[in-house]
Symmetry: C2
Subunit: 341 residues, 2 copies
Amino acid sequence: VRKPATIVDIAAKLGITPSAVSKALNGHPRISDETRNAVITVARELSYSPNSLASGLRRGKSGLIAILVPGIHYGFFSTAIKGAEEVLSRKGYNVIIAQSKDSADLERRQLDGFRRAKVEGIIASLAMETQDYRPYTSLAVDIPLVLFDRTISDEQISGVMVDDFAGAVKAVDHLVEMGYKRIGHLAGLPHVMPFGRRIDGYKYALAKHGLPFRNEYLRHCAPSKEEGIIATEKLLNLSEPPDAIFAHSDHLAFGAVSAIRNRGLSVPADIGIVGFSNEELSGDVTPSITTVDQFSETMGAAAAEIMIDQLHHRQLGKPYTPQKRLLSPKLIVRQSSLKDK
Amino acid sequence: VRKPATIVDIAAKLGITPSAVSKALNGHPRISDETRNAVITVARELSYSPNSLASGLRRGKSGLIAILVPGIHYGFFSTAIKGAEEVLSRKGYNVIIAQSKDSADLERRQLDGFRRAKVEGIIASLAMETQDYRPYTSLAVDIPLVLFDRTISDEQISGVMVDDFAGAVKAVDHLVEMGYKRIGHLAGLPHVMPFGRRIDGYKYALAKHGLPFRNEYLRHCAPSKEEGIIATEKLLNLSEPPDAIFAHSDHLAFGAVSAIRNRGLSVPADIGIVGFSNEELSGDVTPSITTVDQFSETMGAAAAEIMIDQLHHRQLGKPYTPQKRLLSPKLIVRQSSLKDK
DNA sequence: TTGAAAGCGCTAACAG
DNA sequence: CTGTTAGCGCTTTCAA
């Protein structure tokens, strides 16, 4: 295990000083082409690789950007990470990731880890459990922060989200158009912003169409198939069960389909279903699931772009006004809501 | 934007030296409890956060471990990353990730980025395109490396994989048991180790059951639904088409089902299907897909554990013998292969 | 155009 | 038990 070459080694070999080597390597203007080329040649010979811990320490820049998500394995988040990673690595940053597992405590610890690693910026989506936003607001004072999807409504923090309210309205509008009249909602925890917005949109759309909001048609659940099954069974047990369900995630929608079929009922003939998120396989199941696309990859990329912009301002010492980007969701109509009227 | 506190600030406030502070903070034995507690108190007051660039530079340890995968958004890889991240972050490492997008060139560049970041170890799965393994073999000389799933058969490099040969045999055995006789294979590129092994297992199992291997029953394709459709149509156009298909990915299996149904044929009555990987929704589609589970999360976790072990040896200056871990895949029988005999 | 010198924040001998 | 000193590899004035 030989020691990696440093700029001192290169300097020694050429009989010049490390500072000259540094300048040559960093495209500094005040250096002769001759020296520069010589340096580059020797650097290659010694297979020199810059030590970014050292340059980071010196310049106060680690070249690291962190991404924190509840869980890497969820289709939505992994796709968002993909979108962000591509933008960030193209700009020369290394991307560090961590998961909160929806725990406020773990989330804090991961943010601490980022702080120690001296990341230049943090892109994050809140843990479901998080209700105390101070770890984020205080973080944002020192480190550029961009939240996505599960954001907070703080003017000082940049955020990217989809218009969840509009998405929910589109979903309900569509169900009404298809002739469904008693529309239930498998909702998320209302304090999580996107979930709350979806609930608001659901209520708004019902009212718009002159449909009553019924408390027993609103069920809160975590976004898993299992919870979807349980919640749907509860709905089906009502004396007057819904004839359509708007689920706040596709996983819930899968559960709903499964519960409905277990009762010998059919989707979409008896009960219509619309999900949310457009998971990878939502179009491949039978019946295929009508859903609201959130453009997760675009969200990740947009968050990364805002981060780059913010970093750029900071570098120039310019003041930065936090950005809010709102993407327009898209309804994707598939079999699960296509009632034959 | 105030400057973050350093150990010098803490030392100044207490009238001691930075080195004493360092010892107190790192649980060094030669320090009085009194001083230690005082230091900890002041550290908290100043909301001190260690600078791991500085300590990393000094100690030659960055606290960073890198994971390189073809694409973060594939269910298999994101789950493996999740498994690895949990082990690594529990051990106090920060995890940096990058994707090769199956390009050998990008893969190289990402590895370079890791090298600059002075990561302590690299966990990777090869790009599909990669046939020249030198970037990895030469890397492994300097930096602990663990490959998973898409590995190379180099004794000097640790690896974690599933027994793809056995998995393929299980798949074919099962189809034969169900009464299928003309079994085709939607295969991957043979130079990618797991895909090659699956082809070998397929051939071996055919022979074991006294079934002929027919070249026209073997089709190479990338693991996507689209390619699955195309390849399956080719198979169906044969004068004597297969009555079962073993696909090397679930996505291909989805495509196969779709192509078969388009011909007015049924799965599993006319043609049986077995996939590979157990994607998240493979049990939820109709018909549900029989598949071979690879335990992706376990693979990621195992790779991380081997890495920790390897790092541990290195720290103690002990020689390390590269580990190979082979997980046993599990056949999950679902509707797509359940022929009514 | 190049060199000399200082220092980023921390740790590890070694001395006291 | 605590302090002194030196230096990890790099960048950045400032001077030559």
